[in-house]
């Protein structure tokens, strides 16, 4: 009996923890902000800043985390609020999910394939095209 109560308590605490950091819009913004920071470094390197493989790998890690977690961050109750996400996302959630899946696959390929500056310059631009694909259809900046 005591054990069941403890288990129930743990469950409640666990759910509470999920809800506490579960504001999907806040989470999305955090992910995108991290991706932006990572991309700033990556674009600078593409333009001629000194190549740094560990920075590239950190960026790829950020993209990979975003691709893995983002699909769950668009629940039906997160359409409005402090967000630039367009309702079109929920009209075609399958397409959005497919785009994140493609991003995840592309990140995986790039993580294996980018080993030096030459492979970085050859492979990174194609990976970065994933960003604009969703921003074109599914985001509208208000300012």
């Amino acid at each position: 009996m005591k054990r069941w109560v403890l288990a129930g308590l743990a469950l409640v605490v666990g759910v509470g923890a999920v809800l506490a950091d579960g504001d999907a819009i806040v989470q999305r913004r955090k992910l995108m902000k991290a991706n932006g920071e990572a991309t700033k470094t990556v674009v600078a390197m593409l333009k001629g800043a000194p190549f740094d493989l560990s920075a590239v790998q950190a960026a790829l890690k950020s993209y990979g985390e975003a691709a893995a977690t983002a699909p769950a961050l668009f629940p039906d109750d997160s359409k409005t609020g402090d967000t630039n996400a367009l309702p079109a996302i929920w009209d075609d959630k399958a397409d959005v999910d497919a785009r994140f899946a493609k991003l995840a696959a592309d990140v995986k390929a790039a993580s294996a394939g980018i080993v030096d500056e030459a492979s970085f310059k050859a492979q990174m631009p194609a990976l970065l095209k994933n960003c604009g694909g969703c921003h074109e259809l599914y985001r509208a900046k208000k300012s």
Binding site: N35, G36, E37, A38, T39, K40, T41, V42, V43, L46, K47, N84, L86, P125, L128, C131, G132, G133, C134, H135, E136, R139, A140, K141, K142, S143
Partner: protein
């Protein structure tokens, strides 16, 4: 009786005033010479024809079957097929027909086009560019099928009325003199204000859908009602270096590592195809614009 006569006279005056003007004979002659398709390819991407005219549901910008819905406060426009298909596209057009459409917004049958087709900007284009663009379009694949008719609210369904709109709002073809400006700046002005038609989205409009001249390029609500096209004057670009803007027009990435989205994503696919000197010229011109101030609701 006198009232009826007045109405009849006003009606006749409006009919005459709304008549399409004919093509400038000097232009008609200049576009008659054969154009260069390879030069026209650059004009095509400078003009962003594909952004509206490419067939929806596919990714080839050179399949110009039209039909992509463009939502506006006046209703939905469906840009026509401008592929070389002789029946459904513009394959049967003469170079003069093409120039008249692009520069004056008049169809081969003498009807006015709606200014959703940005001839308000395209009329700045040079005759050689028009000729080269026409030559390039002729090399593209013919696409069968027509776009649906525009779905507009009355009274915007009355095309003839556009003749009056043009009298009010259609600007001159030639640019004003710009003493002291170099060739790069002039190229930038030409690209921004002419083929690039940047002001068509990046400016607020009045109730009749004409750009507010004193607020040109200070940003505007996107025609499809999703977000805002930002201010491109010194006020809006104050945090952007010249190199930042050149990069954004080449790769789509902003100084904060964000990627340009919405309709600008398609625009960047076009500006990425331009020679680097063109992107730099665009930036030279934009950076010279004095700070504007668009106040929403104006």
């Amino acid at each position: 009786m006198a009232g009826l006569a007045t109405i009849a006279a006003l009606g006749a005056a409006a009919w005459l005033a709304s008549a399409p003007l004919s093509l400038d004979p000097a232009i008609a002659e200049a576009v008659a010479a054969p154009g260069s398709a390879s030069a026209g390819r650059i004009v095509f991407f400078a003009g962003g024809c594909d952004s509206c005219h490419m067939s929806p549901g596919q990714s080839d910008p050179l399949r110009l079957g039209g039909g992509r819905e463009l939502k506006t406060p006046f209703g939905s426009f469906y840009p026509p097929n401008i592929s070389p298909d002789p029946k459904d596209g513009i394959g049967a057009w003469s170079a003069q027909d093409f120039a008249h459409a692009l520069l004056d917004g008049v169809s081969p049958s003498g009807e006015h086009y709606y200014p959703a087709f940005p001839y308000t900007s395209y009329r700045r284009m040079s005759a050689p560019d028009v000729r080269d663009l026409f030559a390039f379009l002729r090399t593209l694949p013919a696409v069968a099928g027509r776009a649906p008719p525009h779905a507009l609210a009355f009274p915007f369904t009355l095309r003839r009325g556009l003749g009056l709109w043009k009298r009010l709002f259609l600007g001159p073809r030639a640019f004003p003199d710009a003493p002291g400006r170099d060739a790069a700046w002039k190229l930038g002005r030409y690209l921004v204000e002419g083929p690039g038609h940047c002001a068509e989205c990046h400016s607020p409009r009045n109730m009749l859908g004409a750009i507010l001249a004193h607020r040109r390029l200070t940003g505007g609500p996107l025609p499809e009602g999703k977000g805002k096209a930002p201010d491109l004057t010194a006020a809006g670009l104050k945090d952007w270096s010249n190199a930042d803007i050149v990069e954004a027009l080449a790769s789509g990435f902003t100084p904060t590592g964000d990627s340009l989205g919405g309709p600008m994503a398609a625009t960047v696919r076009n500006t990425a195809e331009l020679p680097p000197a063109y992107r730099e010229a665009i930036v030279d011109y934009l950076k010279s614009l004095p700070a504007g101030a668009w106040r929403p609701g104006e």
